[in-house]
């Protein structure tokens, strides 16, 4: 990993007496792709706006390339944002939109033209310079918004759910494109999404946010296989959260065994069976009332609702996590 370029230190922020950020610490390396993942209202957009300077934190520091920029105006920061609704200027054509940042900085006209052309080529929309934003499709607007931001060669690019408004197929395609673009430009990306697949596909590291707290920051592997808290386990891996002997365990549904192996020691009643997306999902109720889901590929399973079967899991698949619902202090 490269050298550190952006640091957030103990960022706190409240709106109307509600604390939306409860001390966020984050460090991003040069050229890194970091995703802030969380449900709506978890504070991820506010974090992004604080980095951009569109919001001031109540306390804490934002440090870019070793300089404290916490109080800097947004226009002085070497950071650009791709907004959720694209925010393309409706009264300017595509070329003027893309060249806006350079024009503000009084870059010579010929150079602006050259760079705009280059930026449009980068997002594969060379022919669209003369179009107006309302003549573009959602995916095209998205690319123009990205071109408009990266043309300024920011140190850090902030992306606020940039693919949220696109349909699934286009989203998959844009994920790959964005990743390619990020590699090509070598710019640090701070990317926001509520889609864990997107986060896992694209990121070098994922920061899972929940109620204004950064629950875990780690590689997709770490977040998926070694969740630190029950929330992360549930949100990223859709894991079963089980309370046993005073411990909280996260076990993903594909790791629940019911094949008669020696680990299968628990009695479980089949509550419900469903088949979706090539996966059979079985909902069990344990003797102590806790529910858990097992999943299998295929439908070759002849157990029926109401039956009692023995289930269990390998010790390595049960990850000890901090329970968000129980223990606020341990975090």
């Amino acid at each position: 990993m490269g050298e550190s370029i952006l640091q957030l230190q103990q960022i706190r922020k409240s709106f109307d007496n509600t604390e939306v950020l409860k001390g966020i610490d984050l460090e991003a390396a040069q050229g890194e792709f970091i995703t802030l993942l969380g449900a709506s209202g978890c504070g991820k957009t506010t974090t992004l706006r604080i980095i951009a300077g569109l919001e001031l934190p109540d306390s804490g520091q934002v440090i870019l390339e070793g300089r404290d920029i916490t109080d800097w105006e947004p226009n002085r920061r070497d950071v650009n944002t791709v907004f959720q609704n694209y925010a393309l200027f409706p009264h300017m054509n595509v070329a003027d939109n893309v060249g806006y940042g350079l024009k503000i900085r009084k870059v010579p006209k010929a150079e602006i033209e050259r760079k705009v052309e280059q930026a449009l080529r980068l997002v594969q929309l060379e022919e669209y310079g003369k179009r107006m934003p309302d003549q573009l499709s959602g995916g095209q607007k998205q690319r123009i918004a990205i071109a408009r931001a990266v043309i300024n060669e920011p140190k850090v690019l902030l992306l606020d759910e940039p693919l949220g408004a696109l349909d699934l197929k286009l989203r998959r395609q844009m994920q790959l494109e964005l990743k390619r673009l990020q590699k090509q430009l070598g710019i640090t990306f701070i990317y926001i999404t509520h889609d864990q697949e997107e986060a896992i596909n694209m990121s070098d590291r994922i920061g899972v946010m929940h109620e204004g707290v950064l629950e875990q920051l780690g590689t997709p592997n770490e977040v998926y296989y070694q969740p630190r808290t029950s929330y992360v386990a549930d949100f990223v891996g859709n894991a079963n959260i089980l309370h046993k002997n005073g411990e909280t365990l996260a076990i993903r549904s594909e790791n629940i065994r019911m094949d008669g192996e020696s680990v299968c020691t628990l009695d479980a009643v089949v509550v419900e069976k469903s088949f979706a997306g090539g996966q059979l999902r079985i909902l069990f109720r344990l003797a102590d009332g806790q529910l858990l889901t097992a999943s299998r590929y295929g439908i070759d399973n002849d157990i029926q609702p109401g039956e009692t079967v023995k289930i269990g899991w390998d010790a390595k698949d049960a990850v000890k996590v901090i329970d968000n619902d129980k223990d606020e202090n341990q975090r």
Partner: protein, 292 residues
């Protein structure tokens, strides 16, 4: 499901056309026909004693070209420009910032604009006489603060008329700008700041540019009436400031020359139509902001 929905829609649409008929009848009866009558009248002659002589003539229009009347048009235009300028200067910031306020403050600011409408415009103008007259409210305040040592004698002067005009026309500008600024997407301003614009540059390149249709529509909505608001000039300007509106009114009441009044009105109407054309060309829209 979809089918019944479409059906319901089309039925409602045909119902709409039926509902539009009264509007067309109203428009033809009370707008189109009177205008046609006005234009016809402007080509006729004044009868000796009373009424109109049905002989075609262009004399009414020739008479407008006389220096006296041309000057009246020029004075009216000048006053309308001056008034509109100050209306824009005060109304734009008011409307713009009102749109940025919280819902509660928006209602309060709107109320401030609406309250004057509850009283007759004429009565409110007489209020200005109390303010402007010699040793009136304004003089007392200025002399009390020792800013002036004698009455300014503002009543029946050009500035008094401008103030009266600005006062009467301000709501139109404010509402026009407000309705345009209300629609302004603040994320565009943020994007502009994010891309390196100072707050001032962001305002000029984004906010102002996108609320320009509101401002221009406010200009049209103030300029057009200000050409015809003769009673303001009469009340606050005495007989010193003569506007086209006053001439028209005089030609009908005192001069009993309806055809000439019609010709003056026709010219005024053409002038204002040109203004609206210009507005449409500049903004590329056909609708006036703030007009429902």
């Amino acid at each position: 499901m979809t089918k019944t929905k479409t059906k319901g829609n089309s039925r409602r649409r045909s119902g709409n056309i039926g509902l539009l008929i009264p509007m067309y009848v109203f428009t033809i009866l009370f707008v189109a026909l009177p205008i046609l009558y006005l234009f016809l009248l402007s080509f006729l002659q004044r009868a000796q004693v009373w009424g109109v002589d049905f002989t075609f003539t262009l004399d009414n229009y020739k008479r407008i070209l006389e220096p006296l009347y041309l000057d009246t048009f020029w004075q009216s235009l000048k006053l309308a420009f001056t008034a509109t300028f100050f209306v824009a200067l005060i109304g734009y910031p008011y409307g713009y910032f009102m749109a940025r306020m919280s819902a509660v403050w928006k209602r309060r600011m709107l109320l401030l604009i609406m309250i004057p409408f509850w009283t007759s415009a004429l009565i409110r103008l007489y209020g200005w006489i109390i303010v402007f007259r010699s040793n009136g409210v304004l003089d007392k305040i200025l002399m009390g603060l020792h800013l002036t040592d004698q009455p300014l004698k503002l009543l029946y002067t050009y500035p008094a008329v401008v103030v009266g005009m600005v006062y009467s026309l301000l709501p139109f500008m404010i509402l026009a700008v407000y309705s345009s600024a209300e629609k302004l997407d603040m994320s565009l301003v943020e994007a502009s700041r994010d891309l390196g614009a100072s707050s001032w540059t962001a305002f000029w390149t984004v906010s102002f540019r996108l609320t320009l249709p509101g401002l221009l529509s406010g200009v049209v909505l103030s300029f057009i009436p200000s050409m015809g608001l003769f009673f303001i000039a009469d009340i606050l300007g005495g007989n010193k400031i003569v506007l086209v509106g006053s001439v028209i009114q005089e030609q009908i009441t005192k001069g009993r020359n309806q055809p000439f009044a019609a010709a003056l009105s026709a010219v005024l109407m053409v002038l204002t139509s040109v203004m609206i054309r210009l507005y449409r060309k500049i903004t590329g829209t056909s609708q006036l902001e703030g007009m429902l």
